[in-house]
């Protein structure tokens, strides 16, 4: 019994030392969804980089798209007594119990890039981008660029019913509202893929008088835009000039297209969600000051004027 008590007090002592320690001794668990897209691979790379820069010991767990793996990972992080947990949740529901366990163990949980349907007090904060805002930035760019000239827009939507597709459409339409010179003439889903983006763009070009009626393309992600650019070229038109191309995500390949003058603008969905998360965590551990429940990442607009080749070089090593 005495031994157990001694052990317990030693643990408490250790916990106290941890609590007051600087970021240099932080141990953070990161439960990642998996690597289903290039963007997610880049997010993983950047999270590891950010942790290394701050001297944080990052424990990484890949859930391979399964919630049960994420729950297991979180329980194991709790058992290991990490200082904080980063969670990129694969689905929105079913987190209450395990988040409560983390809360009981007094380990703050920060959500990355997606949110959950759980009481807000169960997690410290959520770091995500605003999908509606992204669409809005793209729309504003187009409104400013055409500067009052009449312009028919075609839209390549993401996977029907997915939240990025719904929100990026909403934001773009909001930016175009009241601008009578801009009109969305066709809108179809390209399933976020290059192949479908190309196929759908081919049909848009046929349907709109060989593309002569189209002045701009808005794609819900860069991959569809890359496919569509090829379709525009094969139809004998110049993407970026005859048809303006604006898309969202800022993956490396779109910067190559921008450098070649074939794409005009992209809105970044930053894979650096961990940076702001670590900053908020550091402040919280230092002063005990709780951050806002939602930290919105920047939706930065890149155009051909932003030295696309340089950005491409920076981004291509991130695992996109």
């Amino acid at each position: 019994m005495k031994f157990v008590k001694a052990l317990a007090s030693a643990t408490i002592l250790a916990a106290c030392t941890f609590g007051t320690a600087s970021a240099a001794d932080l141990v953070v668990g990161f439960s990642q969804i998996g690597s289903e897209s290039g963007w997610r691979a880049a997010e993983t790379t950047l999270t590891k980089q950010q942790a290394e820069q701050r001297g944080i010991d990052l424990k990484f767990a890949d859930a391979q798209q399964k919630q049960e793996n994420q729950i297991k990972a979180i329980r194991s992080f709790i058992a290991q007594g990490v200082n904080a947990i980063l969670l990129a949740p694969v689905v929105a529901t079913g987190w209450d119990e395990v988040l409560q366990e983390a809360k009981d163990a007094e380990i703050p949980v920060i959500l990355l890039d997606r949110t959950v349907d759980a009481p807000k007090e169960l997690y410290l904060t959520a770091v995500t981008s605003d999908l509606v805002h992204e669409g809005n930035v793209a729309g504003k760019w187009l409104v400013d660029t055409v500067a009052g000239k009449p312009c028919n827009v075609v839209e390549l939507q993401g996977t029907t019913g997915s939240s990025p597709a719904i929100d990026r459409k909403k934001g773009f339409e909001a930016a175009l509202a009241g601008k009578d010179n801009l009109k969305i003439v066709r809108s179809q889903t390209g399933d976020f893929t290059r192949t479908k983006g190309k196929e759908v763009m081919e049909s848009f070009l046929k349907a709109e008088d060989g593309g002569k009626n189209i002045c701009a393309l808005y794609a819900h992600n860069d991959d569809m835009a890359v496919g569509a650019i090829q379709a525009i070229k094969e139809a004998g038109l110049k993407p970026g000039k005859d048809i303006l191309v604006v898309s969202i995500d800022a993956v490396p390949d779109i910067f190559q297209a921008m450098a070649a003058g074939e794409a005009n603008a992209t809105v970044e969905l930053t894979p650096n969600m961990a940076g702001p998360a670590f900053d908020a965590l550091a402040t919280y551990l230092k002063d005990g000051k709780e951050p806002e429940k939602w930290i919105q990442t920047e939706s930065k607009l890149y155009t051909q004027a932003d030295d696309p080749m340089k950005v491409y070089e920076e981004k291509k090593g991130l695992g996109y």
Binding site: S35, E36, S37, G38, A41, Q157, T160, G161, R186, S187, Q188, T189, D191, T193, R194, T195, K198, E199, V200, E202, S203, F204, K206, A207, D223, V226, G227, Q230, E234, A235, G236, D253, G319, Y320
Partner: protein
């Protein structure tokens, strides 16, 4: 001779009627649909788009037809497409010549086919389970090859396969036409086709009557793997990159659907490659038509399903029996045993 042509046309009649109705319907909704013009030395228009975009499913359907005729099924073709696309992209970017790249890629497709074939023919695992293994694992293998990213390439030779043209037709169309005719000739001008049908109807009886079934079964899956490899190269060349996550995704289902729309029974036995090719073109015509029609994307799948149900009803033996007077005599007058059931 005329009777052979008539039998042949009779076999393809339901598919031809369905295709004609669909094309007529689309050209009513979208008048420019039938326009064809020469642009940059190649035919340009929506009809060419259908033949071109349909290339992967047409190729998969050719292999799938033979597999289904043996009473099997190949669920792995979509994943094999992804693997082969990834292999070709990684070979060409690591500096191999075009010939080497294509040879190795096709060899990988054949290898995938041998794997499926051995599971089915030698280990006697049910085809749907045997090929499910590669369907699930294949996409992972492809992702390992591309390291999770879209592997892009700039080799003009490889790109030509996807977006070049020959004799005014896009390369993918030329490839499936030539390949389809070749396979049809090989199976129909030799006894191979008949042996495949025999295995499909009754594997045991065929074995007992001296057909070397394991080799024949493996050959069917090898053909399917080869078709998937060609389709994978075309899909990658088309977008100048190998997308392991999305290349060929769900296309195995479209290929099976093409075979069914083509009138080949999933129970094995009699098959027609030409009809399956028509089936694939019908599916692509529906897809292209929906894109041109300008309906909101929420309707895409519903419209597609409704048309498919309509075509399948047209083909059902009961429906044909009820409307025997409009059906052509051979089919109505001399139903095969299975149709009579």
């Amino acid at each position: 001779m005329t009777s052979t042509v008539r039998t042949y046309l009779g076999r393809l009649l339901p598919q031809l009627i369905a295709l004609t109705i669909i094309i007529a319907a689309i050209s009513i909704i979208f008048p420019g649909f039938l326009n064809l013009q020469i642009q940059n030395g190649r035919l340009y228009g929506s009809l060419v788009d259908i033949l071109n975009r349909g290339a992967p499913v047409v190729l998969l359907a050719i292999g799938m037809t033979v597999v289904i005729a043996t009473k099997g099924i190949d669920l792995s073709v979509g994943a094999v497409m992804a693997i082969c696309g990834a292999v070709s992209a990684s070979l060409i970017t690591s500096g191999h010549s075009l010939a080497e790249t294509l040879l190795i890629t096709l060899a990988v497709g054949i290898l995938c086919g041998i794997w499926n074939g051995i599971l089915v023919a030698v280990l006697d695992i049910q085809p749907i389970i045997a090929t499910l293994v590669l369907m699930v694992a294949g996409r992972g293998i492809a992702q390992l090859i591309t390291e999770g990213a879209i592997l892009t390439f700039n080799d003009p030779g490889l790109i030509f396969i996807g977006s070049g043209s020959f004799a005014g037709l896009p390369m993918p169309v030329v490839i499936w036409l030539v390949f389809g005719v070749l396979v049809a000739l090989v199976v129909r001008q030799t006894a191979l086709g008949m042996l495949v049908e025999a295995v499909g109807v009754n594997r045991e009886a065929s074995t007992l009557s001296g057909v070397f079934t394991p080799v024949l079964l493996i050959a069917a899956y090898v053909l399917s793997g080869l078709c998937a490899a060609i389709a994978g190269v075309i899909a990658a060349a088309d977008i100048k990159g190998a997308d392991a996550n999305n290349a060929g995704l769900w296309l195995e289902l479209d290929a099976i659907l093409a075979v069914v729309v083509g009138g080949t029974s999933l129970l094995g036995g009699r098959f027609s490659i030409a009809a399956s090719v028509l089936g694939a073109i019908i599916i692509q015509a529906i897809n292209t038509g929906i894109l041109l029609s300008g309906f909101p994307p929420e309707f895409n799948l519903i419209i597609k399903a409704a048309i498919i149900v309509f075509i399948l009803v047209l083909q059902s033996p009961r429906f044909r029996a009820a409307f025997a007077f409009v059906s052509i005599p051979r089919v109505a007058g001399k139903p095969t045993e299975r149709e009579a059931k």
